[in-house]
């Protein structure tokens, strides 16, 4: 509602609330943070211009995710800048002092996600990071809940081969042997 009343000024608040989650989702699709940020920016600019699109939606957050997804797909089709290798050099990451020991684990997760097909990776992102049900994910992706669940299962099986807890533990002490690390 604030978006409709004050337009661009309210966009700052929306950006602060959502940008990190939108960028990580878009990065799953574009496989490149710069393109992901372009997609997020394009979506938020559209929201600022047509705020009614968002606040009239039944579920604003899934609607915004779908807008970002569409913009990301447009950029991917236009640029064809796929990087199928698990190269994380484009990512701007957060390094907290008390989480340094987990950084290898996080990098391994992102690297493993990038090794998945996009349609499987975005299901994992929406399921785990956005806490969505398969039905909600299906609405965003335009798929049935069964299809989404299948993709999730395939993705998790692949991830489990790359990120088993035993490996995570052992590689935390020997990060140079980490599977899936860039």
């Amino acid at each position: 509602m604030r978006m409709a009343e004050s337009g661009v000024s309210a966009l700052a608040g929306l950006f602060d609330l959502t940008s990190q989650r939108l960028v990580r989702y878009a990065a799953t699709i574009t496989r490149n943070q710069h393109d992901a940020e372009d997609a997020v920016q394009a979506a938020l600019v559209r929201v600022a211009g047509h705020a009614s699109l968002l606040f009239q939606a039944d579920y604003p957050w899934p609607y915004l995710l779908r807008m970002v997804r569409n913009e990301a797909l447009v950029i991917v089709r236009r640029k064809r800048r796929w990087s199928p290798l698990a190269n994380l050099s484009d990512l701007l990451t957060r390094r907290l002092v008390d989480e340094l020991e987990q950084e290898e684990s996080h990098r391994a997760v992102w690297s493993a996600l990038r090794s998945l097909p996009t349609d499987q990776a975005e299901v994992v992102v929406l399921k785990i990071w956005e806490d969505m049900t398969f039905a909600q994910i299906g609405e965003i992706l335009g798929l049935s809940a069964h299809t989404v669940a299948s993709r999730y299962r395939y993705a998790m099986e692949k991830l489990s081969r790359k990120l088993t807890p035993a490996d995570m533990h052992s590689h935390r002490h020997a990060p140079q042997r980490y599977r899936g690390l860039a």
């Binding site: 997020v40 600022a48 997760v109 049900t133 069964h146 990120l163």
Partner: protein, 134 residues
């Protein structure tokens, strides 16, 4: 949560619980760059400004088109439209000269007086029209 989701979440996917927690922990690892916020706000501001200008230009163009359509006959046929509306008020020197030349058929008639008479007759016609209108 639907029954289908419930089954998936509680039976077949139980084995992924630990893996999910590992993936979930990496959710905040990637951050937007610092310049994304100002560039997004600037782009939104420019887009709104552009949209406002487009609206103004569109409104102006609509007004011009409407005016042109309403006044089109007078633009295309200005002389005919003027004659139709106010025939008695149109005075041309050509008409006065023509009336004067008609009076100069007689050789003794001076051209200056012919013009005076034509002008007096014109004023008389206009006075009659004015009286009729009153």
């Amino acid at each position: 949560m639907s029954e289908f989701d419930y089954k998936w979440d509680n039976r077949r996917l139980e084995s992924f619980d630990s893996l999910e927690s590992i993936v979930r922990a990496a959710g905040n690892y990637v951050q937007p760059t610092d310049d994304l916020r100002p560039s997004t706000l600037e782009a939104a501001r420019e887009a709104c400004s552009r949209r406002r200008w487009n609206f103004r230009i569109g409104a102006l163009a609509t007004v011009v088109i409407l005016l042109a359509i309403c006044d089109l006959p007078s633009l295309i046929f200005p002389s005919r439209a003027g004659q139709g509306e106010r025939p008695s008020q149109v005075i041309r020197s050509y008409d006065l000269h023509r009336q004067a030349s008609l009076r100069m058929v007689h050789p003794s008639f001076d051209s200056s007086w012919a013009m005076v008479e034509a002008f007096v007759e014109l004023r008389k016609k206009q006075a009659d029209l004015f009286d009729a209108a009153m």
